[in-house]
Symmetry: C2
Subunit: 182 residues, 2 copies
């Protein structure tokens, strides 16, 4: 299974909640970390640290750094770049996911918070442009479905290390365990 890092482009302060949701989705759906380019947001950093402390890791959250440099480094180290966009190849009706898997490369997945620079669509920046349907919806949803398809659902029973909290799935009701000293 490839290692996946999410690149969140275009974050601004007003995007705090959405970017947090994108970061939590990245973690829950199998990515190893998320990079916020060209922006800093200490509040999100604290939220993610808290989630990793309670629910386990590893999962990294990095901020700053121009997107061009981040992507250039990623490619230099042999990774491929996937850009999620409504304009891309439809994940359901094309063979894009199979071609991505066939590269056997680690993946940087770009999600934008607003209209991205047109360069993102070019082969200089993205190896693949993938659409979760060709309708406008949410970068959160696109990221979740993309990762679920890429990892074929296996990300959903991954064990996180050093978790203090653990949910035990229930048909009804809620069951939560908290790690105890022995």
């Amino acid at each position: 299974m490839p290692k996946v890092v999410v690149l969140r482009w275009g974050h601004r302060q007003r995007d705090e909640r959405l970017t947090t949701h994108v970061a939590l989705t990245a973690r829950a759906m199998g990515a190893v970390g998320i990079i916020l380019t060209d922006a800093k947001d200490e509040k999100i950093q604290r939220t993610i640290n808290e989630v990793v402390k309670n629910w386990g890791g590893p999962f990294f959250f990095q901020m700053g750094g121009p997107w061009k440099t981040v992507l250039k480094n990623w490619r230099t180290e042999g990774g491929a770049v996937v850009h999620l966009t409504a304009y891309g190849e439809n994940i359901q009706t094309s063979n894009v996911i199979q071609r991505i898997q066939a590269t056997e490369k680690d993946l940087m997945v770009i999600v934008g918070s607003r209209k991205v620079p047109s360069e993102f669509f070019s082969s200089e920046v993205s190896d693949f442009n993938v659409a979760i349907g060709n309708q406008p919806h949410s970068e959160c949803s696109s990221l979740a479905v993309f990762l679920d398809r890429l990892f074929q659902g296996k990300e959903l029973f991954k064990e996180f290390e050093n978790a203090r909290l653990r949910i035990v799935p229930q048909k009804h009701g809620k069951k939560l365990f908290r790690k105890s000293k022995v």
Copy 2:
């Protein structure tokens, strides 16, 4: 395929962007409409109307109405209720999705914007509690993956009626068509 209506519980004004993302996800991933219970938000109404006008429908957006009444009516009319929650049965490791499909009922899918009343977990309110992994992440992501699994990806090539705009999927670049008078 069952008809799916999303019930968005707990919306407050600060949730405007997230609730909009939830509504757009519901539309793009195959639901026929979304109901905001116990809240009104004209701005979201306008956004959804605009999306339906440009990208096609049908997709309805309703506001107000206490959640108890909405759910009671749904069940009276023969529908089943699915509550998406990190505490539910893991969609990947349980047979919950097969059992949902086996009911052959239309589905109301409840997503909360914050901690929901504990009644939501009981069998009086929800027939099924479903988790997209038992980790905290985003109601947007949960809704997207749930619908993608329920409809087995077929929602992603659905044709919307009366669309004025149409994206043609591209490996690179963007291609958008606007409906023209003949």
